[in-house]
Amino acid sequence: MNIFLRELKANRKSLVIWSVILILLILIAVSKFSAFADNPEMLAILDSMPDVVMDAMSMRAFNLTTVTGFYGLMFIYFGLMGAMAAAMWGSEIISKEERDKTVEFSLVLPVSRSRVITAKASAALANCIAFVLITWGVSLVAVRPYSPDRAFYEFLALEMAAMFLIELIFLAIGLLLGCAMKRYKRSASTAVAIILMTYFMSIFSVMDERLDFLKYATPFRYYDAGELLRRGGMDGVYLLLSLVIVVVCVAAAYVTYNRRDLYI
């Protein structure tokens, strides 16, 4: 419990910074939405855009003049931010001890390495949960002027659940990188590289049918806002895949961290 609480405190600043960025994003986006809201001219402009652009921006699935459609478009930003924040938290919470050379203190205390991972991962998880709740809460307040219907609130809840699952996946990947990588300085940048790579994979897999198989390799396709809106729920196959990724990464994190030498 003491490690968990200390990490929560140590990571508070980072949570605040990420939340401020996210709140700004939501506020700016919603203020832009005022130009789209119930405006048929906008639809005409969008219709005149080339298909490839619409695919790449995943704008085709949504009616951008409704707040639900607009939030569908917003989802990828929530997903990306959640993924980035979670991966950073996951990798740094472990690797910073080696970077700052505090392992010679923290792991000479009478604690097992597994206990350290459990406590730290829980603290990072708490941050992820807080991040989703903040996104949710701010969204609810920000869309109030457009008095959305019940379907919007249901869709928002589904999006937030999806954002949380994306966070979980990248938290697990970040944790594994932090635990396993010898060059601890690179664990965070590797995590970001993986996020960007999988993000672009998700775009390419939509744009070109020959690349459709890539959809299994990128978590951003598991929780595609257009699909979520169309189905009104999540795909069982992707949920299972997510679970497998999380379990495998977390298990591998425990095993490697227990086995390896700490760098001092």
Binding site: N2, R6, A10, D100, K101, T102, V103, E104, F105, L107, V108, L109, P110, V111, S112, R115, R259, R260, D261, L262, I264
Partner: protein, 290 residues
């Protein structure tokens, strides 16, 4: 039962040598000195014993338990002062000490304050604002506050001013008098000589000698210094003589063996001055390193 029991412990970092085939034991209540130059493997040995790193081969047991499998349990009764202390920079000294204390079953508050007072530690400052020496003081208090049964000190005096060094040594002696076993790693021989009962000398990853500090000084070598007019240095070229040096009219050397051989030589010479003394540990030590 030995407190520390190391047998054939070997550690390679990839291909780079850490330590090779190191074996030794430390008995309950003794202060064991571990000396060697930088890079000899002192810190590697300590980090293996603390299970921060894992051995390539060989075993190490502390309190009869294996360090690779029972690390957390062993560390309940271990205090460690590393050569350079690093703590969470944003924390206050008092919070860090309380955090450290929270990992032990018994209440350490009283001792924490007593130690801080002894080391003149300012508890309300932030770690990041502390000087090197002050961080070291935090390290001393943190390493001792849970009343460990075994202390690992790795070059502990670096950064402490002479007054604090003395206070620190007093503290270690007090602990030792209460029955605490101390593993003292250093390359400064003076302090090892002052404090330790036995020493292990490590060189290029291997133990070259383990012995009682007294026997190390007494049994083997004598330092002989002869001054005489018209002295012929070759006259002292006896078996057992090493490090023969001549310096305007005087001869200095180390001698190992029956001292009468030297006395006989001297008997036939008219000397102006002669001293035969115990070499300092420093001199013995240099000898091992040549």
């Amino acid at each position: 039962m030995s407190i520390i029991d190391v047998s054939n412990l070997t550690k390679y970092y990839g291909k780079a040598r850490g330590i090779v085939d190191v074996s030794f034991g430390v008995e309950e209540g003794e202060i064991f000195g571990f000396i060697g130059p930088n890079g000899a493997g002192k810190s590697t040995t300590i980090r293996l014993l603390l299970s921060l790193i894992h051995p390539t081969s060989g075993t190490a047991r502390i309190f009869g338990k294996d360090v690779t499998t029972d690390g957390p349990e062993i560390r309940r009764d271990i205090g460690y002062l590393p050569s350079e202390v690093y703590y969470y920079e944003g924390m206050k000294v008092i919070d860090l000490l309380k955090y450290s204390a929270s990992f032990y079953d018994h209440d350490c508050t009283r001792r924490m304050h007593a130690l801080s007072e002894a080391m003149e530690l300012e508890m309300n400052r932030r770690i990041s604002d502390l000087s090197y020496g002050n961080k070291k003081k935090v390290g001393i208090v943190q390493g001792l506050l849970h009343s460990p049964k075994l202390l690992f000190l790795d070059e502990p005096t670096a950064g402490l001013d002479p007054l604090m060094q003395r206070r620190f040594f007093d503290l270690i002696r007090e602990e030792n008098a209460r029955g605490v076993t101390v593993f003292f790693s250093s390359h400064i021989l003076g302090e090892v000589q002052r404090l330790c009962d036995r020493v292990g000398i490590i060189r290029e990853g291997r133990i070259v000698e383990i012995s009682d500090i007294r026997t190390l000084q007494q049994s083997n070598y004598k330092k002989v210094n002869v001054s005489a007019e018209g002295l012929d240095p070759t006259a002292f070229d006896l078996p057992g003589v090493t490090n023969l040096q001549t310096e305007d009219g005087s001869v200095r050397f180390f001698f190992k063996g029956d001292i009468n051989a030297v006395l006989q030589k001297l008997g036939g010479t008219r000397v102006t001055d002669v001293t035969i003394e115990e070499p300092t540990l420093e001199e013995i030590f240099m000898h091992y390193y040549e």
